[in-house]
Symmetry: D2
Subunit: 254 residues, 4 copies
């Protein structure tokens, strides 16, 4: 009989951590051993994530004291923090990172888009890009997995099959729109309710940090030398991304 | 001293009529003489449009009984009704139509997109397309004015200056998003609050009836032989249209 | 080993029916045999309720042809229709009604609030009021169950324990607010998105049809001779009811 | 011919300041001379308040350097700051305060509800409570005016006429709901869009700082010895307060 997978979570107080906890709590083969958080350390998880109240008895801890017996860790930390933790993990421990730290294979591209030095490119080389639809077999056997960004996921789910099958030509325009939870759980000017609730606007024109991630993975699945025009907008809903993708088919498609 | 312009409104109970009434009521040189409505005939205007309560004493009437002394009529009726009224107007009366009836110069294009026969193409020939930014002088002297559609306005304000100055090449992609009031004042499935409030979706892909109107006017202001890819989406806000327009500049622009 | 309960649903195309289907589809001991609908008859259930797509293969039928082998029916019909069906059900069949038809024990009170004659008061006498928190044992053994109204549920969950334990005195004020899905799945003026999305307003002051239902059940659980002031409001959210209940404690409560 | 009133504004970068500016900019007899702001000092007003772009040329200043020639100042500062400024104003200068600093006549009540010492109670004695509907004549002649709080305004507009005319008896219940802009222009957890957009909840039960202000003014207009039960809720809209007020009439009212 199969034992449960023993899991630790670094950074469980944000929206990514909240969804991860919800999914793992309902998974029949997972046991959550610890969950770290910075500002919320010491508080019961069910108090911070009210939808999990009664489903979990743990409190957030400041740091994991002991990793022995842990099979897998998830990292749901702000960009730049996973690269501090991953190199220190035990050699056989599986890790799944939800941040942008290990998605990009080219250090200079990372540093240009994330505006900080990368201190763990050695570890990056061992990461598999965690988009199941394009990388299922590699993910199955990976020790280190880097989960795709939100806009990258939406765009790749649409474009990757077309590129993988060589169906399109020329410039591709992606007009992407995100809900407000994409900005995270911390209150900020761009998610202030009186102004967001009836607003729609474009931001970071053509320079979003998910662009190189999308192009890297399109080149991974097929022959990608096309131009990608990528525009991000803010929607007055809480969840979800909607990407309208405009591409020219090489020949008629049904 | 200038007398007031005496105005009649056909179809004042919808959202277009409501905004028109609000603007005219605050205009120092306009007197509103009559306002027609179908279902709301007999009701006080301030009762139907609560924001106008106390600003106007008139009630909606079923039809205009007497047009003598009227300088100008506005038509804010559902598509297909203005073409019944315009040919019967006195020869010198000015008319401004807010519907789609008189925007398109090609009868077959109209009939294809509006899915009904056009019965007043003779009158259409006298209409000026009422987009001030592209047609200011013609509008100033026109007897008959056909106001642009909502998506057409948003798109033309962005594209017309580029086309008029010959600045762009190739395919243009317009990703347009509309608020729910664009569907009118009548409750309908696509504006049912429980489903619209957190939704975003595409509709009428590439076939919106404003497409031929946009192309007609782009050809009017400049040399337009480009391809127009036009996509409409529904936003969960009440007002406004946001159009993201993607075009290739012939040369570098600041 | 226990067989599955075989269930039929009358009126599965509305919001009540949609939630009922979702719950029953994930219930390990239920088999759904038929689902009726009026306007949607003939359509696949997963096409009408997109969240159920892939979970159920049935299509809506106009009427149940054969009730043999059915253990229990649910009725999620507009008010006034369950009273036509219940008297014709086989004598041992269990039925759970979600409408207002069988909640009120006094025919004249029903007819005053629902503004229609009641044609099945004989059957009404056999119904148990289906609020588990106040009626658990009776529900367990009932053949016929009448589910509480939305406002009644919210109010009784707050007030019933206080009344059952004789803790309050004097007039009770209930200020209740409902989301827009409470008006049902049909588009209507009061759920038209452009007007509902930023609105909050009171309606049906002091006369909502759930008032007699609340008072009937308070008298059922305890000694209720107090005055109930009940006010309904519309909230610009899709789901849920929030009831603020003001009552005077007989003595200090913690 | 009357010269324009020359006005200075302390604290013009918040929502109160924005509305004040909008109203004064359209007033034919007002000239705005300076507008202070803390964090936004140095920025053009039209850049911070985009709806005022093009209507005003001033930039926010850190502090007013010279008050000579100023007829009247408005103070739209966070609570606790007006009491620092008002005592230093020239003796004849009119001042209108939008904060809670000068509304309450009893120092101990102020200090209990605002949780800070009051350092200018001498000046408080000269303030008139600025609710026009109850204090019109006193406001007309006042040098110092303290504008009512948001919840206090909504509640007093409903209750004051009943109390002034001695029409009600007994306990009054006020169930008040506010839009999110009531929390101000600074992003905060309670106005974070992903959580606020579909939420409704009660807060500060029975202890809101507007309660003593309401009771003080009810006692000012009439004979008020009744009990006030006052409950505040948060609505997922941006603007406005809706107060449902429950009171018992002494005799039948139409």
């Amino acid at each position: 009989m199969k034992d449960k997978v023993r899991v630790g979570i670094y950074g469980g107080s944000g929206y990514g951590g909240a969804e991860l906890l919800r999914i793992l709590l309902f998974h029949p083969n997972v046991e959550i051993v610890f969950v770290t958080a910075n500002e919320q350390a010491g508080k019961a998880i069910g108090e911070v994530h009210r939808n999990l109240n009664g489903l979990i008895d743990l409190s957030f801890v400041k740091d994991a004291e002991d990793l022995s017996g842990i099979d897998c860790v998830f990292l749901a930390l702000p960009h730049g923090q996973a690269m501090e933790i991953v190199p220190r993990l035990p050699a056989q421990m599986k890790a799944i990172d939800l941040s942008g730290d290990f998605r990009l294979r080219d250090q200079s591209v990372f540093e240009k888009h994330y505006k900080q030095p990368h201190t763990a490119m050695n570890a990056q080389a061992d990461f598999v890009y965690g988009l199941t639809e394009t990388n299922r077999e590699a993910i199955r056997n990976a020790r280190l997995i880097s989960n795709p960004g939100c806009f990258a996921t939406a765009t790749l789910l649409g474009l990757a099959p077309l590129v993988a099958n060589g169906l399109i030509n020329g410039r591709v325009v992606v007009d992407a729109k995100t809900g407000s939870s994409g900005s995270g759980a911390k209150a900020a000017a761009n998610t202030h309710h009186p102004q967001r609730m009836t607003s729609f606007y474009a931001y970071k024109p053509f320079t979003h940090q998910h662009v190189p991630e999308i192009e890297q993975e399109l080149a991974h699945v097929g022959d990608w030398t096309n131009e990608l025009v990528f525009m991000t907008h803010s929607l007055p809903v809480a969840r979800g991304i909607f990407a309208s993708i405009y591409a020219e088919a090489k020949s008629d498609l049904s």
